[in-house]
């Protein structure tokens, strides 16, 4: 299979403009003849659904939550980047582009990233017009702050609830179209199959999570906006329901899966406290602007933090990276926290935690300023841990947060299946091997508001699609597949709950394919996963019925897919004999412990083709070319 990314030629500044001009248009009167399915209602899905409907397409939008407003984009705290240069501090589209390519450790496509930086400007305009209550200066203009990995202030925010406010903006735009009859919204519906007719994506099969009904939906194109797969680790900052199922089932129908091992570990999360733990909570990395990260200099120092004098503290990020200090990118901060804990200098009961200390910032700025900036985060921390961060330093530890990998897409955001588009975190994205803070919201909205609505028109105008409805045999076959899986789960009648298997898988993946990886560990995991998967299918206990609201059954399907994905992640990590961004292979590091890339051999996107469960997938490579930002070793010293 030849991977054609369909990158336009010419100077990078004008590629998107030219491409837009060259794309075919659908006559306004004809748009209503086309039906588009959008799966997922987060920033990418809601913005795409609303925009496609505004253009005149008929849209059906699906989400597994009880309302489109619940999608996990809502939990993003820190902010959204845009190259507005409102602070007059030297920002530009080119600088945002440069920072993103560099931050991604040179494993992203330059053209996509440049387009993202260009569109960032429009996103802020759109969101402000929708009424998103961004932070303001007294003069009424928009306020910005700096954010992990950036030396300019380009992050727009709405207190610590930026994701919530942006999602509500997109959700309201979506509901406006629901009210206008342009979008048919299907909450509490889970996509379980992608349906192909003549090699093109022509619909999906869903399960109504309340009635258990298995339903077919036909369309002219399908957009997947179903988020990331971080929950393969069981413990992550994702919502409990976040899952890989939609993109995984599309992968099994032929869409290539790119860079599955590129997962991001976020440095500032509340540490694990016990076995019962069901999720990890992120504390916005904006806290690193004013908080100082440290551990005791001595191993096993169990004194209270305020009893440890200044000279016996190790502010390890400030020490190792004097120019970026506590603001180094996420992968660097996470790895260093793990390293000091592995040395036995971690804090808290488990020893897996480092201090994030606001003492100096409170002395310098006063308690009120700190409350103004981070009040809700401090409250959240106190609610969860029972400790007051104004008095005692916070304890933080890295946790899985975002997945850069996802379905492979070309410049038009179309997967290897014609008519199947993948947007937001679900695609392999513009972030390369590591995403910079405040860039996920930007990418989700760029894809949904400003990219896919154009590129899908080009496809629909040129595709000459025959009429297909749900009576087509392909839908029958997919429905049968779904019904069989439901039946199979209910008939196993094993002894262990779905969650117990999920925990076991998560621990294995965290240990061997988490923050740092080795060939030996990955081989061990690759041997172990198929056996665990086999046990899952033999011994899982799913009670109740298929024609009911059955949360165990929902989870079982998702965990089954995580078992298959986990194997691919390890394979991808083993195949990539280098360290880059979030992918750190212990064998490949510089003498001072930094990631050692191998541009001569691994400057490509690894796109995997599914060949059957337990079968060796086939690797396809899309070479990456860097015409503008020349690969260098990232240095934040």
């Amino acid at each position: 299979m030849e991977l054609d990314a369909k990158i336009p030629s010419g100077p990078i500044e004008s590629r998107w403009d030219r491409h837009r001009f060259e794309m075919k248009l659908v006559n306004p009167a004809n748009k209503r003849k086309f039906h588009v399915i959008v799966v997922g209602s987060g920033l990418a899905g809601a913005s795409a659904s609303a925009t496609l409907a505004e253009l005149g397409y008929r849209v059906s939008c699906f989400c597994f939550q009880d309302s489109p407003r619940r999608a996990h984009s809502i939990a993003a705290q820190g902010g959204i980047n845009a190259a507005k240069n409102y602070q007059n501090d030297g920002d530009s589209v080119y600088r945002l582009f440069y920072d993103t390519v560099k931050g991604g450790d040179f494993r992203a496509r330059e053209s996509n990233v440049y387009r993202l930086a260009q569109i960032s400007l429009n996103i802020i305009d759109q969101c402000v017009a929708q009424g998103v209550p961004f932070a303001r200066e007294y003069g009424g203009t928009l306020e910005n702050r700096s954010f992990g990995g950036a030396q300019v202030s380009r992050t727009f925010y709405a207190r610590g609830q930026t994701g919530q406010q942006l999602l509500l903006g997109a959700y309201q735009a979506l509901e406006r179209q629901v009210g206008a009859g342009q979008v048919a919204m299907h909450p509490r519906h889970e996509m379980l199959e992608l349906v192909l007719v003549d090699g093109r994506a022509r619909g999906i099969v869903t399960r109504d999570l309340v009635s258990g009904r298995i339903e077919s939906h036909a369309a002219d194109a399908v957009v997947l906006a179903t988020g990331g797969y971080g929950n393969v680790f069981y413990l992550s900052t994702n919502a409990k329901g976040s899952n890989v199922t939609a993109i995984w089932r599309a992968h099994k129908r032929g869409a290539l899966f790119a860079n599955p091992c590129f997962t991001q570990i976020h440095p500032t999360c509340i540490p694990v406290t016990g076995d019962y733990q069901s999720k990890l909570t992120l504390m916005s990395e904006s806290l690193r602007n004013d908080g100082r990260i440290w551990v005791p200099l001595q191993k096993g120092d169990k004194r209270w933090p305020d009893k440890i004098p200044e000279q016996e503290r190790d502010y390890f990020l400030e020490r190792k990276y004097p120019s970026f200090g506590n603001l180094v990118p996420r992968d660097v901060a996470s790895r260093n926290a793990k390293a000091v804990c592995d040395e036995g200098r971690g804090v808290g009961e488990s020893g897996y935690g480092v201090y994030l200390d606001f003492r100096d910032a409170i002395q310098r700025l006063g308690r009120e300023v700190i409350r103004e900036r981070y009040g809700n985060l401090f409250d959240m921390y106190q609610r969860i841990t029972g400790e007051d961060p104004y008095l005692v330093p916070m304890r933080i530890y890295p946790a899985t947060h975002y997945t850069m990998g996802g379905l492979w897409v070309d410049y038009n955001l179309m997967s290897t299946i014609p008519g199947l588009y993948v947007i937001g975190e679900a695609n392999f994205s513009d972030h390369g091997a590591n995403r910079l803070g405040a860039s996920a919201l930007m990418q989700g909205l760029a894809d949904g508001y400003f990219i896919v609505p154009y590129t899908i028109g080009d496809y629909l105008a040129g595709a000459k699609l025959p009429k297909v409805d749900v009576t087509h045999a392909a839908f029958r076959e997919a429905e049968t597949q779904v019904a069989c899986q439901v039946k199979r789960f209910l008939e196993i009648k094993g002894s262990r709950s779905v969650d117990s298997f999920h925990r076991e898988l998560g621990k294995l993946i965290w240990d061997y394919c988490g923050m740092s990886r080795t060939a030996e560990g990955l081989r061990f995991a690759l041997e172990k996963i198929p056996r665990m998967r086999e046990e899952f299918w033999r011994d899982v206990r799913v009670l109740g019925n298929g024609d009911d609201f059955n949360q165990s059954l929902e989870k079982a399907g998702r965990v089954a897919d995580f078992f298959e994905l986990a194997e691919l992640m390890c394979l991808d990590a083993l195949e990539r004999n280098e360290s880059c961004g979030g992918h750190f292979r212990e064998e490949f590091q510089t003498p001072d412990g930094e990631a050692l890339r191998d541009d001569a051999n691994y400057s490509y996107v690894a796109a995997w083709e599914f060949k059957g469960v337990g079968e060796q997938p086939v690797l396809h490579r899309e070479p990456l070319e860097f015409e503008y930002v020349h690969p260098t070793q990232r240095s934040y010293k």
Binding site: A129, V178, A239
Partner: protein
């Protein structure tokens, strides 16, 4: 810590439902309330009993998916806290807790503690937005918004749509939810063109969904996990009266065609 739980079990909307008594032992005070229910469910599955259904997703208090009554209080005893962020350290060993779903005619029970809150989405679809199609926005800084106004909008926009306000209200009124959106959009300059149309349509929809009327009791504000202020209801009522006059003056075309006939929120009976 050991607890006795009485949980509402109801198979589906047609089932009549009943309270069932459970004992949970060995609860760690650092657990969240939902993690405690996970422990109960794990033990039920082992025993071959179907687990208790409850909606939840982000488990960090922002998505608005979770929520049920604990001893008659929406989201339980802690102020400004969703049930997923409520930790067991706030309870005592031996406590006896009664868990029930949101009870409101507009929120039919789906199963056990899970209810259908799609009426909230329909209230938003009726007018809880600013009509600005993608691409037609002016440059962001061309609309200055005083900091105080932005803050006021943000306070109201913090609503997570969980439904606790409705569940706690003796009238099952959606006034706090509806008022929060009307305030968020209504104080901002961007929201002015549709301000009157919005309040008329949204209030009409809330009535059509069979939410009750507001009689200024204030239980909603007391249980709101985001501490939305009662003031948003006053704003909604004020805008509603103004809108009714504006419509008579022909200031805007009223699509609901109900102006003058609709009961005022807060003065229905």
């Amino acid at each position: 810590m050991n607890l006795i739980l009485h949980i509402w079990r109801q198979r589906n909307h047609a089932d009549s439902g009943r309270m069932v008594r459970y004992e949970v032992n060995g609860i760690n005070p650092d657990m969240s309330f939902l993690e405690m229910l996970d422990v109960l469910n794990e033990s039920l599955i082992v025993k071959g009993e179907e687990p208790v259904a409850f909606d939840n997703d982000c488990r960090e208090g922002i998505c608005g998916t979770c929520g049920f009554m604990i001893n008659g209080v929406a989201h339980g005893p802690e102020r400004g806290t969703t049930v997923c962020q409520l930790h067991m350290r706030h309870f005592k060993d031996g406590d006896e807790l009664y868990l029930e779903p949101w009870r409101a005619r507009a929120f039919p029970v789906i199963r056990d503690l899970a209810v259908d809150r799609s009426a909230f989405d329909r209230i938003i679809a009726a007018g809880g937005y600013i009509s600005v199609s993608t691409g037609s926005a002016p440059e962001a800084n061309s609309i200055p918004v005083p900091k105080e106004v932005a803050d006021q909008a943000m306070d109201a926009a913090a609503c997570i749509g969980c439904g606790a306000c409705v569940a706690m209200c003796p009238n099952a009124s959606a006034a706090l939810f509806t008022g929060a959106k009307i305030t968020h959009l209504g104080v901002l300059p961007q929201g002015q063109p549709e301000r009157y149309r919005r309040v008329i349509s949204m209030v009409a929809q809330a009535n059509a969904e069979m939410f009750g009327s507001c009689t200024n009791i204030g239980e909603c504000e007391a249980v709101c996990p985001k501490e939305i202020k009662l003031e948003v209801i006053a704003r909604m009522n004020r805008d509603f009266i103004r809108a009714s006059w504006a419509a008579r003056d022909g200031a805007f075309r009223d699509d609901a065609a109900e102006v003058g006939k609709l009961p005022l929120a807060g003065a229905r009976r």
